[in-house]
């Protein structure tokens, strides 16, 4: 199951708040977070890592897709 959070264009710290709320509700599967700012990418990655999640960052022309999941690197 994949849950998606679109936090593009939201100011600090809303991308992190929305990610945290989604992770709190995530029982299984993967969370996909869409971002379009470096600062938000850094902050969301830091939050997910600090909670023990694995983050894969896909970067494309200033837009970021973060795949966040528990466990080992696929």
């Amino acid at each position: 199951m994949t849950v998606k959070v679109d936090a593009r264009g939201l100011s600090c710290p809303l991308p992190v708040i929305k990610t945290k709320q989604a992770l709190d509700n995530l029982t299984e599967g993967e969370l996909v977070v869409l971002l379009d700012e470096d600062v938000a990418r850094e902050n969301v990655t830091r939050l997910a890592n600090s909670l023990g999640y694995m983050v894969e960052v896909l970067a494309d022309a200033g837009k970021f897709t973060l795949n966040i999941r528990k466990g080992q690197k696929a």
Partner: protein, 362 residues
């Protein structure tokens, strides 16, 4: 498309050296600027300096506070250069700019009733000014309230990339032209540099400008934010940005001690008053505005300098707020807070609550 994996936070993510260094440098440079002529505990103050700029532009007539502060121009130029180098210089806007202008006005009014923005609040603490403790308590209270609004869904909406690139050049070009004029003649525009007011007290222009550039460069890269530091600790128990505030405090404290500028107590503090209640309440307002805006006055200036049009409105709201505060006698003086200032803070708090309860994404 690039793909990278991260699976744990390294130590430098938890205690980021760049944030600590940015804070230390800001604190050290601030104390040196005071030694070289800036008002006491006012090496940097976004509120005071943007208010001085409002005066220099003739937007208010309080002769004691009219000076086109080169520190602000330098911060804009430094942040613009750093964001260009880092590929983050990008025009974007659309997140309720008019509301951000309004919140900028009230953030300035709150800061001028306290007599300092959050940056100066920390600098005042590092100079031994006990009155700033009340400000810190108020600021923290405002941040907690703001965080509650965010957790309940408050948002000023999304910003979008703008197609027209001139949008992000306007502020750096304005700052660059003004900086050149200041270097040629320091009393350009409406600057009076008369009397004994804070506006007449300043370090040499070239030192102020260079200090601003240095701090702007570092702060853009490190994301230093005085509201963000406390906010992230409250929200996520993350000290990532808070270490920057600790750096500012330690940097200014030690430098003040070395330079003989440390003066512990509540009495006789430079550009400060002892009205405990209003020191507290005014900074509640600043904290609330900062959270709803997505950053403190310092961070708003950095964001505006890297092309964020909404923060541009917040900064110019602050400049307008500086003019309003002095034209209508809302700003405090070392003697205390005016009735009009108290009423304005009350109105600001009501406006913030209304925004916090009604700003939702549609």
């Amino acid at each position: 498309m690039n793909s990278t994996f991260t699976d744990k936070a390294p130590w430098k993510d938890k205690y980021p050296p760049l944030v600590i260094v940015s804070g230390l440098v800001l604190g050290i440079v601030a104390a040196i600027l005071v030694k070289l002529g800036n008002p006491g505990n006012m090496g940097f103050c976004l509120a005071c300096f943007e208010r001085d700029i409002a005066g220099a532009l003739g937007l208010h007539q309080a002769k004691a506070v009219q000076y086109l502060r080169p520190e602000i121009l330098g911060i804009v130029l430094g942040a613009a250069i750093a964001s260009l180098a880092g590929g983050e210089f990008m025009p974007r806007s659309g997140s309720a700019p008019v509301v951000k202008f309004l919140l900028g006005i009230f953030m300035m009014i709150g800061a001028l009733v306290f007599l300092g923005c959050p940056t100066r609040m920390v600098l005042r603490l590092g100079g031994g000014d006990g009155n700033a403790l009340l400000g810190l308590a108020g600021f923290t209270t405002g941040i907690v309230a703001g965080v509650l609004f965010l957790q309940k869904g408050a948002t000023l909406g999304r910003s979008y990339k703008e197609a027209y690139s001139l949008s992000f050049w306007i502020l750096p070009i304005l700052a660059g032209v003004a900086a050149v004029l200041m270097l040629v003649k320091s009393n350009v525009f409406n600057a009076t540099l008369e009397g004994k007011g804070p506006g007449s007290m300043h370090a040499p222009v070239v030192v102020s400008l260079a200090s601003g550039v240095l701090v702007g460069l570092l702060a853009q890269r490190s994301r230093l934010c005085f509201a963000g530091g406390l906010r992230d600790m409250i929200l996520f128990r993350s000290g990532h940005l808070l270490v920057g505030l600790v750096g500012v405090f330690l940097g200014v404290l030690v430098t003040n001690l070395v330079l003989g500028q440390f003066n512990a107590g509540f009495d006789g503090q430079s550009v400060a008053h002892k009205d405990y209640l209003w020191n507290f309440l005014s900074m509640v307002l600043v904290g609330l505005c900062a959270i709803l805006l997505g950053g403190c006055p310092f961070r708003q200036l950095i964001l505006a300098s890297q092309g964020n049009g909404d923060s541009f409105f917040a900064v110019f709201g602050m400049i307008a707020g500086g003019a309003i505060a002095h034209n209508f006698h809302l700003a405090a003086t070392p003697k205390g807070v005016s009735a009009a200032g108290m009423i304005a803070v009350g109105i600001g708090l009501v406006v913030c609550v209304i925004v916090g309860l009604t700003a939702r994404e549609t």
